[in-house]
């Protein structure tokens, strides 16, 4: 959809332009309904891309625990480092400090994860379900919304892990993403959520979409997902007990079960993404 005809989704920030910005070819976000397997796909995909030689920035904008585990780093217990990058002017809202741009945030305000990955986090919810530090949230949003300014990051892969539903893509939490990997379980609610995320991504956000059917136990369920979606899926990630086992042992599935079916499937996903990127280039 051209910028002229694109209509803002309801929660899109009023002062933010909608048209797609420049960015790296491998800047993507993983979305879907709660419980679909987003974190496992995003964490494992980030590790695989890193092992194939890409520099990888992982972005976790879910206030619930998620990507750190699937990447294989402990969840930080302290408030997000990002707060140190923000300031509150006497008049006006929180903002990134002058001279702190997206690249500085990546260098100084991210967590180190295995295979050289840097992990940028929104911050985790307190007992009321809110991320406690306003400044950190503002700094996070400004960072993701200014990502296109950091030309040196165009060489990197970005893998974002978004919380459940279409809310964050529609609210401008992932404007860096040129590709949405939409994860779908074989249920009607998961499929309808996937359709909605895809509609926003392909429409106003002008991004590409790749459907991943997850937790699939057989060919019947693949066909069910495709029938519910109304279009074919690009990849199937089978239901795999290795995921639950890894979760219980608090390890990333790629560390706990590197030869599991689920890891093989995400390797195939990385192949598809790399092939598409080459095609586009």
């Amino acid at each position: 959809m051209s910028p002229a005809t694109a209509v803002r989704p309801p929660l899109w920030p009023i002062d933010m332009p909608l048209e797609p910005r420049p960015g790296g070819p491998l800047w993507l976000a993983v979305a879907g309904k709660g419980g679909a397997g987003k974190s496992v796909v995003s964490g494992t995909l980030a590790r695989i891309l890193a092992r194939r030689g890409h520099r990888v920035l992982a972005i976790d904008s879910d206030p619930m625990p998620g990507m750190a585990h699937s990447l294989g780093v402990p969840e930080p217990a302290t408030p997000p480092l990002l707060l140190a990058a923000a300031e509150k002017p006497e008049h006006g809202p929180w903002r990134l400090k002058p001279r702190v741009g997206p690249m500085a945030v990546v260098r100084h305000y991210t967590t180190h994860a295995p295979d050289g990955i840097r992990l940028l986090q929104l911050g985790k919810a307190d007992k009321d379900g809110l991320v406690p530090v306003n400044g950190a949230v503002s700094a996070f949003l400004q960072t993701v919304r200014r990502m296109h300014e950091a030309r040196s990051l165009y060489e990197w892969a970005i893998v974002g892990d978004l919380p459940a539903g279409p809310r964050q893509p529609a609210a401008g939490f992932s404007p860096y993403a040129r590709l949405y990997v939409v994860v779908v379980e074989p249920t009607s609610q998961s499929a309808l959520t996937a359709r909605r995320v895809a509609r926003i991504a392909r429409g106003p956000l002008g991004a590409d979409v790749l459907f991943v059917a997850s937790k699939v136990t057989g060919p019947y369920e693949r066909r069910l997902v495709e029938r519910l979606l109304g279009e074919p899926v690009d990849l199937v990630v089978p239901s795999d007990p290795a995921v639950a086992d890894a979760e219980r042992s608090l390890r990333a599935v790629i560390d706990a079960a590197p030869r599991s079916e689920v890891v093989h499937a995400v390797e195939e996903l990385a192949d598809i993404i790399q092939a598409r990127t080459l095609e586009a280039a």
Partner: protein, 252 residues
């Protein structure tokens, strides 16, 4: 009477809301079902099918139409909105969607109809209002005493689900709203004990794990249409009977 259904994402709020709405309507109640989630799914559980659910308008998004005529504000009543933008679901349930994030928003700032406001202002006399809330406790914390008669707090036997349920119960107690805990997907005594350990001081009703409900969720149909005698569906119908019995004295 005004009922809301709350709980963690994936706990089964929508299935329980849809089944209770249908069951109340079958026993003769006028039911208005309010989908208060910006990712609305209630139409599926009411038995409208995925495509009709996808065509439901979000009131917030629709209200912006006609805004070019900027001389006067939109004038509306809550019942007028339900009449105009709602749809009929099976058994005569009227369903409305407060706001949906996937639809273009033309940005009418003067008509701030939010899910919160719809739930606060909708009249519960002479009908049953059933609100299917967004995951978490946000909406509940923005209600005031008297806005809702009863909240069904849905808990699954998992630590995270029980924790979200505990916060929802806390929010209701602070607002003097009656709570009924629905222990959902209970497969045995151990599951029920996990929920009782934390929420045992409150009324608890049990909905057993039920393959019929799982199949309904997979296929995108109402569980009550698939098999209204399966254990899970019967347990939810029993909840609706109990709510109906409690509502009689209020209506009289």
């Amino acid at each position: 009477m005004k009922i809301a259904v709350s709980g963690k994402g994936g706990a089964g709020k929508t299935t329980i809301s849809g089944t209770i709405a249908r069951s109340l309507a079958r026993s003769g109640h006028a039911v208005t079902a309010v989908d208060a989630d910006v990712n609305p799914m209630l139409g599926i559980s009411l038995g409208m099918g995925m495509d009709a659910t996808e065509r439901l308008a979000g009131i917030r998004q629709e209200l912006s139409e006609g805004h070019a005529d900027h001389d006067h504000e939109h004038e509306y009543t809550i019942d007028g909105l339900i009449e105009r933008y709602g749809e009929d679901a099976p058994d005569g349930v009227r369903v409305v969607v407060a706001s949906r994030v996937d639809m273009p928003d033309h940005g009418c700032l003067c008509c701030g109809v939010s899910a919160d406001r719809l739930l606060r202002e909708i009249e519960g006399t002479g009908r049953t209002v059933l609100g299917d809330l967004e995951a978490g406790v946000g909406v509940l914390t923005r209600m005031e005493p008297g806005n809702l008669d009863v909240v069904l707090v849905v808990a699954n036997p998992t630590p995270k689900s029980i924790e979200v349920a505990r916060r929802a119960v806390e929010a209701c107690v602070a607002r003097e709203i009656r709570v009924l805990v629905v222990a959902n997907r209970v497969a045995g005594e151990e599951d029920l004990d996990a929920i009782r350990d934390v929420l045992g001081a409150h009324d608890i009703v049990v909905v057993p794990e039920d393959p019929v409900i799982r199949r309904a969720d997979a296929e995108g149909v109402a569980a009550i249409d698939l098999d209204d005698r399966s254990p899970g569906v019967r347990a939810i119908i029993a909840i609706s009977d109990r709510l109906a019995a409690e509502a009689v004295p209020q209506a009289a």
